[in-house]
Symmetry: C2
Subunit: 614 residues, 2 copies
């Protein structure tokens, strides 16, 4: 059957293409993770590292210094480029689906008027700024070839780009500040959800309003761009465009339908699938089926597939029947495999050096940040929040994060904006995301919860202290602490023993927490000792202490001691964590165990079912 | 920057292409799941349903009856075809990576001589059959255009294809028979692992042995096939082929290196990543990075990317530091999203009606099954196993499952075999997989463990019985059982009460299991009642029964009663399962809860850590 084989061979990727495809994915994934971890170390959002990976691998650095390697690894056209494009499209779709899963409509509902006010005023102000600027000074901003033909959609887009808020970034910031479940936290999250929804719908309108056949005649190759754009608007060469009003009508019908009937159907279907299909495989397949189908639907309507995926996420995520374990599998996989690919791909084709335009970057940043900050502040104040809370809400809402970047990318692809503006939007989105957390923290005078794991390295763990008594153990740990801090070991030992003489610091289940506050300590220092034999710390249940944490904190940070103490006690409160802690062999394994135990303890507080049902 | 935009537009997929891409993925995923669930209902392996989805959507059915829709949804060439090809390549790579993760080298080591014997004799016999047949009758078997030029590789391939064993299928069968941890089960699993390893290495040799430039001149389009083949062997047009001996040497070096130094390095790296990176995201990224890189390496060497992914899985999977939760996320996602896409894609391009060749199908089936059965039996016998156990081992090892199909697909793509033979291999692999379980079961006279969930539908659950006493509850449940079985309610009630009078069947924690064996019952019937008020069943801890299971079993199946009873007691032994059971509202929700509880109880017995560390 030669014909058969031909089909197979014709659509097939050659081995060298497959090699490049696999290597480019591996390199993007690996570097995105490494740079993401670097960011995490400096408590910056991971997405910055992921985009930076694309900048390093893309035109800005690799393309500049090793153009041949760049052209081999990330060819601009051909089978490999199309394969990567397919993966990136799928990644963006799944990413927005996961963002949608996090939206909880009932929370939005409960916040009601306040969320509505923060969202409305918070959108109107920066939208107006962006709109007016784009309408007045399109060339300064960097209008794209297609945007020139369509000043209105361009201006609306800029308005939206200035007024978006990133739900995932906000959620992460609030969790870090231990505020996710506070009234203020819920208000900010609800407003961000509503904001997301409005922003995406607005963007759908922008796409629908774009003229079907813009004609641009500037520079070579522009004709092809126009062709591509034309096709894009017409939904392919094989069918006529739907027209603006059809697109808008169908989009609204789709969104309303999915959030009412669709939501109800998903809810029913999820229960049935979980009752009768393999678990959790059945519900995983079902959820992806719906996400892909909704994405295809909106793509067909003429707005982007991403909107459909987002709405599918909202509709399905709202079902309380969707178990935590299913969400967890989807979330982990998408956020750690697909999301880094998407963000790295954004940096790939942009040249952050050649196309960097400082006045533009500053303008976009100032307008977006100030408009959103003042608008959301005003909304919160109108809703009756205090001065301080209103500012905190304002700062929280400025974070643009991933969503702003995705919108920019879509606008760039649609020819609405040019690369200068895209770079300005990326920098603005990242800067506002970095600032939101610290700013809220400062305004509320609250702070990040300090975790035990953040204070430890391999050198802070003593696996086999020789000590046979509490005093000996404290002596050994103090010597290590002295090595690490440069403070005199005797001084540490004396301060700790002084506290110990008032009452021994043994806790039940073989834990002990000798501690002291020291004047000349610049930051907290914890040394953990693990003794297999155990040391008597006079604990309430009489058990000898096997896990001993020496907690040294600066006198100037009065609350740090209690934070570390409670984190230590909570983490090792679970029997299997203690068992694991006793069984590991090396200090690195000890840290791995603790890292994992800390991550899971967050999850368990978040949802008890996680512990139970799997 | 028109140049910039051109790059964006040139490599981009048009909206209508994205729509098709998303729809084809959604449809494959959805149908594969639905047909997979149908198979599961009939206790057939799910992979059959997944391949059937491809047959329905492919040339055999959709292409036959709705050729235009088929051509739109699954175009043979162009951007969409390449995008799908990229996804399928990635899916196959990740699938084999997961299969590799399941290989536990130390288990293989411990089974030592016996596993070696079963594998060796079990391979030699069917290999010889396949090899001789292919060498003697290549045209009858259906040699491909490239296989004609290379009778030796073709014959070696047929030998391997006849002697492969599918690890995932075997593992599933043994778990179903509750034998995975028995000596016999361990032997079969170890032998299957060893078999996999040998098979893949042998296939690498086949690919390496293929002549670099086969010239075929039969029919139109064959020239292009040859071109494609040539490129495939040369590793692309841009570089010369590595040559057979280089390929073999590098492959062996890669495998040995990865299983020794690579394994050790992965082991070290996994601990470090888990200690210092975000958990579990960091280790997820790391694991995929290694998998993709190894896959690219073997693809570059000239053997398939799949081998590299498999070996990467073996190297990483062996690390006991890789936590169960990480494995679970990878396993669930790959097996439920990527694997169905891969298997459905196999059926897509084959025509199971037009290219069905009965004599060939029968020949392949008989040779593969008999060779493997007799060979493995002989090996087990030589290793000192009993007559019966040896037969069981033999039947277990015949299952070819997914691995046989993947090998066939690769050989088809390489032009080594034609579509007739491919179809015969697919049918043989599926048939042996279906037979392996029942055959082992029959030989060992053991049986599948009956699970409570398998006996229940919505009609078998009573959410709010009105009963206030044990006798009333039994009466109510008996009436429902009578409806469902057609047996007289009075007779049931009498039989159950007779047992109850000897001693009440209340268990601790609010459970009760009234039961009876009935002569005229064709199959077990369970009716579960959930009473929020509780009914006194005289339980040891004095708690009223809130979950009451009426267990009716045929007298002819003496062990069924105790199986159902223990499954019920074990499932509801966990407090959170009971809590959930009391809180659900509908019978469907009750089944969903039970389905999930059953799945997790398997997991917990499998690894206690799953319960603990997350």
């Amino acid at each position: 059957m030669p014909a058969m084989l031909l089909t197979q061979a014709a659509s097939g990727l050659s081995p060298s293409q497959i090699t490049v495809f696999l290597v480019e994915l591996a390199v993007m994934l690996g570097l995105a993770r490494v740079l993401g971890e670097v960011c995490r170390r400096f408590t910056l959002p991971q997405v910055i590292g992921e985009i930076a990976a694309g900048v390093v691998l893309g035109q800005t650095i690799l393309g500049q210094f090793m153009p041949e390697t760049f052209a081999w690894l990330y060819p601009a056209e051909g089978e490999v480029a199309i394969g990567l494009e397919g993966m990136v499209t799928l990644s963006a779709t799944l990413l927005l689906f996961v963002v949608g899963l996090e939206v909880d409509l009932s929370t939005v509902w409960r916040q009601g008027k306040a969320a509505l006010l923060v969202t409305a005023v918070g959108i109107v102000l920066p939208f107006t700024f962006g709109f007016l600027l784009a309408y007045g000074l399109p060339d300064f901003l960097g209008v794209g070839p297609r945007g020139e033909q369509a000043p209105l959609p361009f201006a609306i887009f800029m308005g939206i780009a200035m007024s978006i808020t990133a739900l995932p970034v906000i959620a992460k910031v609030l969790i870090d500040l231990n505020m996710a479940k506070s009234d203020l936290g819920m208000l900010v999250i609800s407003s961000a959800m509503l904001n997301d929804l409005v922003g995406w719908l607005g963007f759908a309108v922008v796409l629908a309003l774009l003229p079907a056949a813009a004609v641009v005649a500037s520079g070579d190759g522009a004709g092809e761009v126009v062709e591509a754009v034309k096709q894009a608007v017409n939904g392919g060469a094989d069918d006529a465009g739907l027209g603006v009003w059809w697109t808008v009508t169908l989009t609204v019908a789709f969104v309303v339908g999915m959030l009412t009937v669709g939501r109800w159907l998903c809810h029913k279907a999820v229960v049935r699938v979980q009752a009768h299909w393999a678990w959790p495989g059945g519900v995983l397949s079902f959820v992806f089926f719906v996400a892909l189908l909704c994405a295809a639907a909106t793509e067909r309507i003429g707005v982007h597939s991403i909107l459909g995926a987002f709405i599918a996420g909202v509709a399905i995520g709202d079902s309380h029947h969707l178990r935590e374990r299913t969400r967890d599998v989807i979330h982990q996989f998408v956020m750690n495999i697909f999301a880094p690919l998407f963000f790295a791909s954004i940096g790939l084709r942009l040249n952050f050096v050649a196309d960097f335009n400082l006045p533009l970057v500053v303008t976009v940043l100032v307008i977006a940040a100030s408009g959103k900050l003042v608008g959301s502040y005003a909304g919160a104040k109108l809703a009756g929040l205090s001065h301080r809370e209103s500012w905190a809400t304002g700062f929280g809402m400025t974070a643009q994060g991933a969503v702003g970047i995705i919108l920019g990318q879509l606008a760039l692809e649609a020819g609405l904006i040019d690369t200068d503006l895209m770079i300005a939007i990326v920098i603005m989105a990242l800067t506002t995301s970095v600032m939101a957390g610290p700013a809220m923290q400062r305004v509320l005078q609250s702070k990040r919860k300090l975790r035990l794991i953040d204070t430890l390295t391999e050198r802070h763990v003593l696996m086999t202290p020789a000590a046979r008594s509490a005093e000996q153990a404290i002596h050994e740990l103090s010597e290590r602490a002295a090595d690490l801090t440069g403070i005199d070991a005797e001084a540490i030992h004396r301060a700790v023993m002084e506290r110990e003489r008032i009452m021994h610091t043994g806790l039940p289940h073989g834990l002990a927490v000798p501690h002291a506050r020291l004047d000349d300590l610049p930051k907290p220092c914890v040394v953990v000792g693990r003794s297999r034999e155990g040391v008597d710390f006079d604990s309430p249940d009489g058990e000898p202490a096997r896990l001993i944490a020496l907690l040294l904190t600066p006198t100037s940070q009065p609350s740090t001691q209690i934070e570390l103490l409670s984190d230590f006690a909570q983490t090792f409160d679970r029997p299997f964590v203690r068992t694991r802690a006793m069984s590991v062999e090396t200090t690195t394994e000890f840290l791995a165990m603790l890292n994992q135990a800390t991550a899971t303890s967050d999850m368990i507080t978040h949802d008890d079912e996680t512990l139970g049902m799997r």
